[in-house]
């Protein structure tokens, strides 16, 4: 009897071990494609990388020279998108999480935001063309493209920020109010600081997507070839993703390492954003205390 019980336990332990091994293998399997893609891009793109490549203007119909204007353009577009979408997104999230009453109207707003996140990016591009480029007469410009990318980014920022705000325990709000805080004082002094790490994740996810998108800027701000830096927000600009599209499909006789070099630069750009935000986030987390 005793031995039968013991062997039963051993059997269960073996099954558990097997289960863990399968799970471990599966999680490794999910990382393999990502690593493969990165290695492939580095392998093909690294030979193109040189100081000239990241600092010079393109030449010879973009078949030689550098991609400096595209790098600068992508930075401008990302910053422009952040300027419009971050304050608006945070404000909307604060309203939805802290102030909005639970009723049909706010329910509809939430559903609209979720659906907005699922709209194909080319639709945003056409919308931006109609509204910003033509109707508001901003022309094909950094301004129009940033605004278009902002609309695309907003749902991500709003929903992740709202979630981060909701994750702050309700008891903190009650304590704060019981000490004579107004609602806004509670949000500003207590809730927002606690929510910052979560908010940053959403903001960066949204901005990274904006930095890498082609379709929304296709009609609104991207230049096929512009061998100079833009002078004002009303100028068109080159941008890494669109440049990549152009040199991969529109230019005959394009050296393959320039294509992959461009991809590599875009990848590094996104990686740098990630590293910066991870650093800010871990510092904010270290300060957080619950």
């Amino acid at each position: 009897m005793q031995t039968a019980k013991k062997s039963n336990v051993l059997k269960q332990l073996r099954i558990e071990k097997l289960g863990f091994s399968v799970l471990t293998l599966l999680s490794i399997a999910t990382v393999i494609p990502i690593i493969a893609v990165v290695i492939y891009i580095i392998y093909l793109g690294a030979p193109a990388i040189s100081w000239e490549f990241v600092s010079a203007m393109p030449s010879d119909g973009m078949r030689a020279g550098g991609i400096w204007p595209a790098i600068v353009g992508t930075i401008y577009l990302t910053v422009g998108t952040a300027i419009f979408s971050v304050p608006l997104g945070i404000a909307a999230a604060i309203y939805l999480s802290e102030y909005a009453p639970v009723n049909r109207v706010t329910q509809a707003i939430r559903i609209a935001i979720i659906n907005l996140a699922g709209i194909p990016s080319v639709v945003y591009g056409l919308f931006g063309l109609g509204l910003f480029v033509i109707f508001l007469n901003f022309g094909t410009s950094i301004l129009s493209a940033s605004l278009t990318l902002s609309i695309m980014t907003l749902p991500v920022i709003i929903s992740t920020t709202e979630e981060a705000l909701r994750a702050v325990p309700q008891s903190f709000r009650v304590v704060s109010v019981s000490l004579g805080a107004t609602k806004w004082q509670t949000i500003w002094r207590l809730v927002l600081p606690q929510a910052i790490p979560g908010m940053l994740t959403g903001i960066v996810l949204g901005l990274e997507r904006a930095a890498g998108e082609t379709a929304p800027i296709l009609f609104t701000g991207a230049a096929f070839f512009l061998p100079r830096l833009p002078n004002s927000p009303l100028d068109a600009t080159m941008a890494l993703p669109y440049h990549l599209f152009v040199i991969s499909t529109q230019v005959p006789g394009m050296p393959i390492q320039i294509q992959y070099g461009t991809v590599l630069v875009l990848l590094v750009f996104v990686l740098i954003m990630n590293i910066i935000v991870t650093m800010i986030r871990s510092r904010a987390r270290a300060k957080r205390q619950w």
Partner: protein, 251 residues
Amino acid sequence: MDKIIVENLSITYSDGVESLYDINLRIPIHQITALIGPSGGGKSTFLRVLNRLNDLADVTKTTGKVLIDGIDILDPTLDVIALRRKVGIVFSRPLPLPLSIYQNVSYGLELMGEKRKSVLDEAVERALRLAELWDEVKERLHDPANSISGGQQQRLCLARTLSLQPEIIMLDEPTSALDPISTAKIETSLIELKKDFTVIIAPHNTQQAGRIADYVAFFLHGKLIEFSSAEEIFTRPKDNKTQDYISGKFG
């Protein structure tokens, strides 16, 4: 003298639980008044009326009068911020804010716009001393508030409430999550505090009411069954239900 006068107070929650029915009560100044009764009987609701924390809850209807120093605090035009500074509350679980020990105590004053460091320092020390916590934390005021023990955290919450120099202190089962030693420290503080404050406590158990209360109110199913001095309630209760509850027949 009566600090708080409650007349015909009724409250209905939208889910029907923890409502109050026609409460009439006079809470004397500079005494400890204990609200006893089984949980769900309306004690927390009653406390949350007195500083209008109920405004945050799903209350469908409030009728009657609650006078504090003769002012009806249910008046919708009342300055609730001032009320909450005057009527402080300590909750059943220690709920330190995610700040340092110091910042937890200075939080309420900073909300009022107090920025002078000397004033804040002095207020923090005074409040921590009143809560009998100063000696234990004076060396590490800037450590996170959740780095101290649960008992210390609850005294920190008491200090945080005291920092605003309220006139009334309410405690909703403040020792339910604490060990006997921490409980004893809180009870000692409360007996000391009633000299300057009016204390209302929903005690953790009837014995606690017996140890510290001057007056006792017995709540059952949202109704006030009996209210009188602690001595009366514990030695010759008028109502059979009070008798049964105190003797432990139900609870």
